[in-house]
């Protein structure tokens, strides 16, 4: 089961089954202590960073840099999908894929938060022109 962990040196927050041995922010060793989700929320929110569409786009552009996939070069498609993602976040709480529907099982629905793990999907795997279901991410060509 995933838990929240706080670096006692720099307050870096980690969410996972185990804490990292080394804090990726301050490099301290064996620095993480388990905390409550309420505490994690208070420490990380608000961050003061306005996470609008432009910021999200730059985040996923950075995310794809060292991966075998890229953000779809079709800008109109990307614009439509970002519209859907942000509408879903506003109306349904998280940036759920605009081309799938939540089941109302929260854990199950976390699989639909963009970027999802599309590497395991049949629309991406073993395909030269593979892409995530909605087409926001495509294999680098």
């Amino acid at each position: 089961m995933k838990k929240y962990w706080r670096c006692f040196v720099c307050n870096d927050i980690h969410y996972g089954v185990k804490p990292p041995e080394q804090c990726p922010t301050c490099m301290a060793m064996n620095a993480y202590v388990e905390i409550s989700s309420e505490e994690a929320k208070k420490i990380t929110n608000p961050t003061g960073i306005k996470f609008d569409r432009e910021k999200f786009l730059s985040a996923i552009e950075e995310f794809v840099e060292k991966n075998e996939f890229q953000v779809n070069p079709d800008k109109e498609r990307v614009k439509m999908l970002l519209e859907g993602l942000f509408n879903n976040e506003q109306n349904h709480g998280l940036k759920y894929c605009p081309c799938r529907l939540i089941t109302k099982d929260f854990t199950e629905d976390l699989k639909l938060v963009c970027p999802c793990n599309f590497l395991i999907h049949e629309t991406y795997q073993d395909k030269e022109d593979g892409e995530c279901w909605c087409g926001l991410f495509v294999k680098r060509r």
Binding site: G84, P98, C99, R100, I102, H121, C134
Partner: protein, 92 residues
């Protein structure tokens, strides 16, 4: 009573692609789809979820859009398909 449903989403590019093909099918073949938007209408979303057992096995285990559902034959087709594929499926 309509037996064919198209579950679609407003910001889904696949749905945008398929909509003219559905319109063409309706005009040329007289086949009618009940078109239900699922991200901005909770009633439609609940209806789609109620057909999960039929839809998911045909759609990568998920509820994806667009999904074409035949309520009578309990068959589903999802994603972008060629016009002829949709026509054949809808004519069954």
């Amino acid at each position: 009573m309509k037996n064919l449903i198209m579950f679609w989403a407003r910001e889904c590019p696949h749905c945008k692609h398929m909509m003219p093909l559905v319109d063409r099918l309706e005009n040329e073949e007289g086949i009618t789809f009940e078109k239900l938007e699922i991200w901005h209408n909770e009633e439609n979303a609940d209806l789609m979820r109620s057909y999960r057992d039929i839809i998911a096995p045909k759609c990568g285990g998920q509820l994806r859009t667009p999904t074409f559902l035949n309520k009578e034959t309990k068959d589903a087709l999802c994603g972008e398909v060629e016009y002829e594929t949709l026509k054949e499926w809808a004519s069954k």
